[in-house]
Symmetry: C2
Subunit: 392 residues, 2 copies
């Protein structure tokens, strides 16, 4: 009995377009075959989002420059999911034996290397995403393929997926609507006397129910940092109960088929302090200045400095960077919205303009937007009001 | 202004006990300082569960054999969270500069190496968790510390945390109650006509609200593999609507302060097929046989083979292993419940006895229990009925 192919978020032509860009880069680097091991890159090139076991399990997508489709090598029990989720012909999904799981010494990368050798993919340049391999695995490739020229391609695919297609942008719009739903739900459930976890339960549920009739396809981490923890950025939530006077910094994301859109807002139960209100005003002014600086040809540094200059005029500083490219599995490891990053913006690059500002150990504020670069400026994908939510 | 210390799930003495075991192992390996980089190991030895940025960010806990407390080196903006969450004196939390974030070349490990040198921790043997470092980071340690003897300790801490203390078991009992709540909530919300995401929204909310008055502290991945995807193991959920005749395989977990307890159950909307019922009966019999095989001195192989033998007699086989040690951040990378693993069981080892059985591409079944080894047998931590849930 065979499994059916599932709903495909993208047509085959979209995956072939992405692969063509990767193959062009492979040609430039004189690489005949590329071993794609980073989970986000695998999703980008195949549609496979079964990432629970990436990192602990050895799996890879193998792109040959002279073959239309890549080959996905996964643990045997995940092969049906690969057939169901990806655009690949079933012959291009290879399950490796369970005897390679939970052992020391051999693992799925031995099956990957076996396949590369049998398919004649080791005779010319071989690209590896070395940064995403444990050192002993990188060494295994070097030892077992001693006569193959191995080239590090750790960030090659990430740079390609940095610029989205219109169809990717439309999926990110769906994720943005989900992030909006989460932020708005939070404004309904954060109330004095409510336990933080009970509010987060409602927020998480909203991120799965989704927005505009499209459910979330996974639950990105939710960070709810409330008084006295507003100076922290990555605490999930506590066992405290909200009180009048509590401030709540919330970071969450919407997810559709691996694509993430991040969103941050700050809530105050009762009137905010003057300091918080002034910081909010400076941050919103800075956010608007940063968005105004966005246009093709401007640099990441330009955008960050527009923010830094604006809040400085208003009496504040921010130590952390102003954000990063966002897409599959949240952060992309390429450019950075910070002073000195001279990466030039191009249409359909997408960024999480992350303006969380942790000023003191016990005082911080968050706001962010996810935007795409347009032909002439920036388009913010989310619709949540850019306000400091005052709750009763 | 300084941040306050938060609720501590464990007393200081518990962390010192764990550190004493690590230092004894360091002494055996002639190691003076250990760089702990695996997020689960850092949580184990400090209480720090801000793991969102582990993996993409370079951070570490540094254990010196002659110092009572380790030193936690994190990104500056995460230092307040470290002070809040861990048992460490604030002088032992070091924030590294934001100038090391989002750059190529230098990263937080440069700050780690600087600290090791300044603290005189590089003069004798230095342990690294090499498996959890990118190859270029492992190389950076080798180059920058060329005269230091570097010893790979990738699994040393994982083997120590394999055996839990009674207080860790009590935290896992709390996580188990949460997993139970999720499985029971699923039996209420999986109904014909309900969209899968709407059911998952309720299940996720239950995992945060928690059980026995203790909220979940994070949301472990939820895998809901329904007809026609019951032959897959790691699909989160689909955009389908449940129908009469649908089968639903559910894997979820409860989490408390990083400690995870896994649980799987199968649901049938309407009467199950004869094949499903027979498989369920074989699996429950196998599960009971496996639990009966658990006692100190028995091996992981003994437990797995008790299961395999039982289901074989009843006409079934299972390709995948029968589970793995479970604790902080789910799977522990040590033993494996499979034929040939001669690891001997000891009291307070904890396992996810994972009996998911994906028989055909389009047919599988799941059941599991999380148990601890007692002085004389096994204690299952969860209470969910060991049944095939038949829903209307």
């Amino acid at each position: 009995m065979t499994i059916t192919r599932g709903l495909q978020p993208f047509p085959r032509a979209e995956y072939l377009r992405r692969l063509a860009a990767v193959k062009a880069e492979m040609a430039r680097r004189d690489i005949h075959a590329l071993v794609v091991n980073n989970a986000a890159n695998v999703a980008y090139l195949s549609g496979y989002t079964v990432s629970g076991s990436w990192g602990s399990l050895a799996q890879a997508l193998l792109v040959a420059i002279d073959k239309e489709e890549p080959v996905l090598v996964v643990r045997q029990c995940d092969a049906p999911a690969a057939i169901h989720q990806t655009f690949l012909e079933r012959v291009n999904v290879i399950g490796f034996s369970e005897s390679l799981v939970g052992k020391s010494g051999a693992d799925g990368f031995d099956a990957v290397i076996d396949f590369l050798q049998e398919a004649g993919m080791t005779k010319r340049g071989l690209g590896l995403e070395v940064d995403y391999l444990p050192p002993q695995t990188a060494e295994k490739f070097r030892v077992r393929l001693a006569s193959t020229s191995i080239i590090d391609c750790s960030k090659a695919v990430a740079w390609i997926r940095f610029v989205k297609s219109d169809i990717e942008i439309s999926v990110m719009r769906e994720a943005a609507a989900i992030a909006d739903a989460g932020i708005l739900r939070a404004s309904e459930v954060i109330r004095p006397g409510v336990q933080e976890a009970d509010a987060v339960a409602e927020i998480a549920a909203a991120l799965v129910r989704g927005g505009d009739g499209k459910p979330g396809t996974s639950i990105p981490p939710i960070y709810l940092c409330s008084s006295p923890r507003t100076g922290t950025c990555h605490i999930r939530w506590s066992e405290d109960v909200f009180r009048v006077g509590s401030q709540v910094n919330l970071e969450l994301g919407g997810a559709r088929y691996g694509y993430h859109v991040g969103l941050m807002r700050t809530y105050s139960i009762g009137p905010p302090s003057d300091r918080l209100r002034r910081l909010h005003e400076a941050e919103v002014a800075g956010l608007e200045a940063a968005l105004e600086a966005v246009r093709p040809g401007a640099t990441c540094s330009d955008v960050a400095n527009a923010f830094y200059r604006t809040i400085k005029k208003m009496g504040f500083e921010k130590e952390t960077r102003c954000g990063y490219p966002i897409g599959i599995n949240w952060t992309e490891p390429t450019a950075s919205l910070q002073d000195g990053d001279m990466t030039e913006l191009k249409p359909n690059m997408t960024f999480h303009l992350m303006l969380g500002n942790w000023i003191d150990e016990d005082f911080g504020y968050v706001i962010s937007e996810t935007f795409r670069v347009t032909e002439s400026g920036a388009e913010v994908l989310t619709l949540a009001p850019r306000k400091l939510f005052e709750l009763d």
